[in-house]
Subunit: 449 residues, 2 copies
C-alpha cells in the first residue's frame, strides 16, 4: 500500500535551528527606541534574559538546539508529514498535496516549538517565573506546558472575554500548573488604570501584553515571554521546515509552493524560512504567507516603523503594519488578528522573496470542513487559511492540468474552536469588507521619523 504519513525517527530531530538572517540579501533593519535611534541589547534586558537577547540579534546561520530542549521535543517531534491523498482525490486535482501536522503537540499547535526553548533559556539564566499574555489560548497553553517541564512558574494574562468564553483553554493551562488571570487585573498599574476607566472592560491583547510586560519588568525573578513576531521565536519554529525537508527527501519530492497562515509570522516562518536558502541558490519555489482579508497586513499594510503593541510600549520595528491602533474585526482565527508582522518576514516580503495572499473568513471554514471530511483531522481556524489557499491552488492545477507539488503547514487542531465551526454550520459567520477607512486612519497615526 502507498504511504500516507512520512515519519522521521527521533534520532533525526534537527540538531540546529536555521537563522534566516545569514541568508538575507540585506541585514535586518534594527529596532528603534522612542527617540528614533537604534537600540542595543541592554534595552531589552529588563524583560528578556541575555541568552535570548543574543539569539534575537544573532547572525549565525545555524544555532544549536540544546539537548534538554530536544529531549522535550521528542514528546511529539518529529511531527508527521502527510501526503493528502484523500483530499487530492476529492478535489480531482493532478497536484500533489503534503501537510505537516503540528497539531500533534500536547498543546495542540506549533507554539511549543518556541515555548520549550524560551522556558529552557530562562531557567538556565536563573529565572524561575515567566509572564505572558494569551488571547485565544494557543500560546498560553504552550508556555504553561513548557513551564511545567522545566519547573518554571508561568502566569498568563488572558484577555478577559476569552477567559470567560474559553474556560477550557484556561483549564488546560491550569492542568499544566499555570496561573491564569483575567486581564485587565487589579494586580498591575496598567490593569488598574483600565479598570478605573471601565470596571467592565472585556480586555484586549494590547492590555494583556502591557500587564505581562509590566509584571516582568517590576516583579522579582520574573521575565516576559512572547509567542511570535520576534526573531528568536521564528528561529525556534524553523524546526518545522527543517524536518519537512528531510521528510520530503525521504520520498524524493520537493514543493513548488508552500502555504502557511501568517499573523505574527512564526507559523509561516517556521515552515518557509528553511526553504529560502534553496531559493537563493536558484530553486524555483513560491513561499506564500496566507492572511485574512479582514487583517491584510502584508497585502494592504504599509512598510514602516511601528510599535509592536497597541499602547506603544515596545521598541519600534520596521514591518508591514496596519497601524498599531488598528483593531481587526473579531474573526475566530485569533492568531491572525495582529496589526503588524514579523520584521524578518516583512523585509523578505518587501524584497520580493516571499509572497502573500489574503482569503476571506467564511471560505476558510468551508476549506477546513472539506479538509476534515477528506483527511479526518479538524484544523484550527488559523490553519484553515492555509488550507483555503492550498485548495484554491489545487483547483487551479486541475484547470491547467499542472501536477504541482503543494505543501502547507497544519499548524494546529481545532478541538478548542468547535464553537467557530458551529457558527459556520448555522450560517452565523460573516466576511468583513476590507476596513479601508479604519486602516487609513491608523496608518496616519504611524510614528514619524
Amino acid at each position: 500500500m502507498t504511504t500516507t504519513k512520512i515519519i522521521l525517527p527521533e534520532s533525526e530531530i534537527p540538531t540546529h535551528w536555521y537563522n534566516v538572517v545569514a541568508d538575507m540579501p540585506n541585514p535586518p533593519e534594527p529596532p528603534l527606541g522612542p527617540d528614533g535611534n537604534p537600540i542595543g541589547p541592554e534595552a531589552l534586558a529588563p524583560i528578556f534574559p541575555m541568552n535570548i537577547i543574543e539569539q534575537e540579534m544573532s547572525q549565525e546561520r545555524w544555532i544549536p538546539i540544546p539537548n534538554e530542549v530536544r529531549r522535550v521535543y521528542q514528546q511529539w517531534r518529529p511531527s508527521p508529514l502527510y501526503r493528502a491523498r484523500r483530499l487530492e482525490e476529492m478535489l480531482g486535482t493532478p497536484a500533489k498535496i503534503y501537510y505537516k501536522n503540528e497539531g500533534v503537540s500536547p498543546a495542540g499547535s506549533h507554539k511549543p516549538n518556541s515555548a520549550v526553548p524560551q522556558v529552557y533559556y530562562n531557567k538556565v539564566a536563573g529565572i524561575n517565573r515567566l509572564s505572558t499574555e494569551t488571547g485565544a489560548g494557543q500560546w498560553g497553553s504552550a508556555l504553561a506546558m513548557a513551564g511545567q517541564m522545566f519547573g518554571v512558574e508561568v502566569t498568563v494574562y488572558m484577555v478577559k472575554v476569552s477567559y470567560q468564553q474559553k474556560p477550557y483553554r484556561r483549564s488546560m493551562m491550569e492542568t499544566w500548573g499555570a496561573k491564569v488571570l483575567a486581564s485587565p487585573t487589579d494586580q498591575t498599574d496598567a490593569g488598574r488604570k483600565v479598570l478605573a476607566q471601565d470596571p467592565d472592560s472585556p480586555g484586549s491583547l494590547g492590555i494583556a501584553i502591557s500587564e505581562a510586560v509590566e509584571a516582568a519588568a517590576t516583579q522579582e525573578d520574573t521575565k516576559y515571554s512572547l509567542g511570535s513576531v520576534l526573531n528568536h521565536v521564528l528561529l525556534h519554529q524553523t524546526i518545522i521546515g527543517l524536518e519537512t525537508k528531510k521528510q520530503l527527501e525521504m520520498v524524493g519530492d520537493y514543493p513548488d509552493m508552500i502555504f502557511a497562515p501568517c499573523g505574527g509570522g512564526c507559523n509561516f516562518a517556521g515552515m518557509a524560512f528553511p526553504f529560502i536558502a534553496d531559493k537563493a541558490s536558484g530553486k524555483n519555489i513560491n513561499l506564500v504567507a496566507v492572511e485574512p482579508t479582514s487583517c491584510p497586513t502584508l497585502t494592504k499594510g504599509h512598510y514602516a516603523y511601528d510599535f509592536g503593541d497597541t499602547v506603544g510600549l515596545t521598541p519600534l520595528m520596521k514591518m508591514y503594519t496596519l497601524g498599531h491602533d488598528f483593531i481587526p474585526p473579531s474573526i475566530h482565527a485569533g492568531g491572525l488578528r495582529y496589526h503588524g508582522d514579523s520584521p524578518l518576514i516583512s523585509q523578505l516580503y518587501h524584497e520580493g522573496i516571499l509572497e502573500a495572499r489574503a482569503v476571506p473568513n467564511v471560505a476558510t471554514f468551508e476549506a477546513g470542513v472539506t479538509f476534515a471530511r477528506a483527511e479526518g483531522i479538524i484544523p484550527a481556524p488559523e490553519t484553515c487559511h492555509a488550507i483555503r489557499a492550498t485548495i484554491d491552488e489545487a483547483l487551479k492545477c486541475k484547470e491547467t492540468k499542472e501536477p504541482k507539488t503543494l505543501l502547507f503547514n497544519l499548524s494546529g487542531h481545532g478541538h478548542f474552536d468547535m464553537m467557530a465551526y458551529d457558527k459556520y454550520f448555522r450560517g452565523e459567520l460573516e466576511d468583513f469588507a476590507y476596513p479601508e477607512e479604519a486602516i487609513a486612519q491608523s496608518i496616519a497615526n504611524l510614528p514619524k521619523f
Copy 2:
C-alpha cells in the same frame, strides 16, 4: 539521546486482527433469546449485516483486515508507544512505564479502530445508512468520521443532556457530516413514548440505544452500529495490542503488567487480548481491567445472563453485571458507566485469566493531572483510571524496589473533557460510596433461568 516514542512504520500495520475465542479454554457462552434458548445469526440480521454477524460468531484465530480499512488506519496508525521517562522520574520508581497513545486518531480515542471496519463492512453489504447512540460523544465522533470516509450516512442519537452540555462534540460530528439528534426524539416510537411521559426527559444511554436500534430495524437501507461490548468490536480493537507487541519487541521489552480502562470492554480487550496467547503458553503477565468504584461491574457484579440495554430489547448475554436497571452515579468517565461488560472479558475474568481493580473517582483525576504535568498529554477521564492503577503499581515498585515493566492504554485525550478537570481543580468532584443497596436491588431483578 534515549528514545521516547517507539514508532512502527506504516508497512507494519497488522494485516490481521486477533480473535481471542480461538485461545479461550472454553467456548464462549452463547447469547440467549427472550425464551432462554440460544439464538442464531438470523436473530441479529434485522440490525447488523451478515458479514459483521459472521465476525461476531467467528472462531478463527486470525481475521484479515481489509486493505480498504488499513488504508484509513494509515491516517493515524500505527499509533506511537511511549516510554514515560518523565513520569518514571517524577515518581522516583524503578518500574519502567510504557503507554500506547490512541488519542492520536482524528476523533481523539481508540474508537475509530472499530468504527472504520464497521462502516466498511456495512458499505460492502450494500448499506448506506447507519444509526448509533452516543453518550459522552467518543463513539458518535468515531462513527461520524468513519461514515464520511466511506460515504455512509450516519445518524447519532445523542443523550439529550450531553447534547446540551457538550455542544462541541456535536459540532465535531457535524463537521464530519453526521446528523446528530437529541434523544429522546419524536422520530421513533421509543422516543415518543418517553416524551409522552416526560416531555422534559434528559434522555439516557438506554433510551438512545432503543431509538438507534428501532431506526435500524424499521428504516430502509439502515443498520445499527455499536461501539463496544460485542465480540466483533473487541476483535477490531486488538490492533492496539498487536502493534504494541511489535513495538515492545523493537526495544527488547515485555510487560509484567498491563492496565486499561474497562467499561463495555473494547479498550481493555484491544490492549490485553493479544497477550492472552502468550499467557496461555506460560508467560507470567498480569492483565488488569480498571473500573470505577462507582460502577464496579467486574469487581462487585454477578456473573449471570442479563440484557445489554436498560430497557431489555437486546439478546441476553452471560456477563458480569450490576443488573440492567442499575443506573451508575454520574461520573465524568462516561465511557465506564455501563451496568454490564463484554461477555468475552467476563468469561476470561471468571476463569481467572484476567484481573480487575476498581479505583475511586477523585484519585483518577489526581493521576491524570500528575501524568499531564510529567508527559504533557492531557488524558480522557476514562484513561485516568488506567493511569491511577499504573501509578499505584509504580509506587508499590518503589517500596519493593522491583523494576517491573508496566504498560497502559492511553485510550484518548481529554480535550473535550476539560469541564471535568475544571471541577476537579475547584474541588467539586466527589467519590461515590459503593452503591450496595441499589446494586442488590437490580441484581434481584436479573432475568431468571
